[in-house]
Subunit: 383 residues, 2 copies
Amino acid sequence: MEGVKRGPNPELWHACAGPLVSLPSVGTRVVYFPQGHSEQVAASTQKEADADIPSYPNLPPHLVCQLHNITLHADTETDEVYAQMTLQPMNAQEKDSFMVSDLGRQNRQPSEYFCKTLTASDTSTHGGFSIPRRAAEKVFPPLDFSQQPPAQEIVARDLHDTEWRFRHIYRGQPRRHLLTTGWSVFVSAKRLQTGDAVLFIRDEKGQLLLGIRRANRQQASMPLSLLSTDSMYIGILAAAAHANSTSSRFTIFYNPRASPSEFVIPLSKYYNAVYNNMQVSPGMRFRMQFETEESGIRRHTGTIVGSGDLDPVRWPNSHWRSLKVEWDEPAAGEKQQRISLWEIEPASTPYLVCSPSFTFRSKRPWSQALGPNPIAREVEAVD
Amino acid sequence: MEGVKRGPNPELWHACAGPLVSLPSVGTRVVYFPQGHSEQVAASTQKEADADIPSYPNLPPHLVCQLHNITLHADTETDEVYAQMTLQPMNAQEKDSFMVSDLGRQNRQPSEYFCKTLTASDTSTHGGFSIPRRAAEKVFPPLDFSQQPPAQEIVARDLHDTEWRFRHIYRGQPRRHLLTTGWSVFVSAKRLQTGDAVLFIRDEKGQLLLGIRRANRQQASMPLSLLSTDSMYIGILAAAAHANSTSSRFTIFYNPRASPSEFVIPLSKYYNAVYNNMQVSPGMRFRMQFETEESGIRRHTGTIVGSGDLDPVRWPNSHWRSLKVEWDEPAAGEKQQRISLWEIEPASTPYLVCSPSFTFRSKRPWSQALGPNPIAREVEAVD
DNA sequence: CTGTGGGCAACGTGCCGACAA
DNA sequence: TTGTCGGCACGTTGCCCACAG
């Protein structure tokens, strides 16, 4: 075996995953939510969990785990990015030992990149790809303007390390940057359509990387012919329950563009949100980050209108999406009506980033409505 | 909702599934093998089950179930055929009540059909599809040979009820049947390659049906980004165990072209093989059916060399692939080294088809090596 | 600055019979 | 009987600029 298949370039992977996605660091402690994992299945299969699923009394709504390994992947067919994580539930002792490294988070911002949503002209067979001026100047090698017309060959590699070659030319009246020869091959090979986005990155070594981000509508509902959705839900719960009871490792796939929310988050983020951010109460104003169409970050504001268990029967006392909110823009009907504590920032004051001086000192939970909180006991035990 | 989406045409579905695939009838009793179901996952994902999977003490190696429902499906992307079955484990009483209907099996042979493996010329963009003479005369409407050249339009529907139109012409020197206009659209839409097969059926009403059967190499190893293989194995076992302990319904997907063997078989077939076919012993010669490249049936012969549990730790006393065999042709290395009792026929005597006069009279199991057999008790209780 | 469309050349697609295999 | 090929016509692809939003 000579072809040592290493995974996708991490910088490119994160660019494709989007600006909001951050993965915990290997070796740190994280919190895993079976509920969130189930939501990923629901989003991917368009089917909710059936009512007739066995209960797992030994499976709490969140598991504190050691994150042993992360590998990045991209689907061979669709280039959809996903991550494989190996988790190991921790026993009570281990949970309490504070580790500074748990604060670290892996969130790469590409050095120089651009992302463009494809227009009808970009995807049509009639022509090539129109490169926005700033984009071309920022990430592509400078053209030799003494040539007429100035042109060069662009070589870029995708998530599978496949090489794509394009002719980059500066012409037309008025002048503009274009990708011509090679572009249509790429479009048809990746089956890109109007509305999908491509992104180019120039990494530290000056190499060009090339990724795609499909429009949201496409990745909806893939009918699986292998396993019933019920078996999938059961598999998720049973695997987590078994790993928890035996303190053994288990493996999950996180699919950032399919999953409504991250369901493996740093332990520090969880503790910080649940115990330091406790001024949360009904009526409070908050902000939350969303991704814009052009791969930027934009904040939307809203008001907290209530709190309580999302699924009181199966997952009592869970912080997963325990907040009921209303969004300021009425057009934002697609946005979640329920969110989790760690997803929000206070509306007026700047967001309190997790600081090294942060401690686990216990205070009353922000809401008594949730009843006795098992986490509260864990934290009090630290004192 | 006006577009009542009904499933694929059953005749076409069976033609695509292959001549060896037969589905039990709805309402009858069947035997479900979690082991076989796991093998389907293994074949689809190219990953064996991990050793660290919880044991399910309440889950025997086979479950006698009532088959409540079967729906036929075809993958939207690949046209891969699969069936969804709703099963309900039966209690001891129900298992014993003999039902004549259990003997029935649903095994459709298409009225008139042909299947051709595509050549390089068939799939090239340079030309059309060369129809074998007999095939054209058997399934296509007769041409009007008074025309020069004789030609007509062929309309056929695929598994999704999508209509495909082709120009059928009889020309060339020497004369031959060809599909020209429309063929390349079909090839590129279905992404057919040399080695894949197409099949045409003329049903009772004279309508033409059109299916594809991809070469084996293609459907191997699809990397799933949704669920770890461990979670899938656990999901299968936990779902079956839960259904068994609560006598509730559960759902499985059977993928005939991916799965090495059928893992839901008629109860009568199981009993007949395990208790009536008991002359099986090491050294015995046998025959077994295989599918030929051209969608026919061919028998291969071999010798039984041993028997015993495939997985003595997890699945003791299971009849699933309990026979160790050697095949006569040395080139047949790909064929299974282990098969199940109900897959074989005696080599010399004609295969004893399940007859209405068949009874459940208990005799000693064919091998004492398997130890006390829970089924034996079930059967004795009938007397 | 960049999306779309007309013009036009080059290329690929696809229909034909001629050959073998 | 049928797989592949050379020949050839025609339709599509794809590069160019002009225009306008």
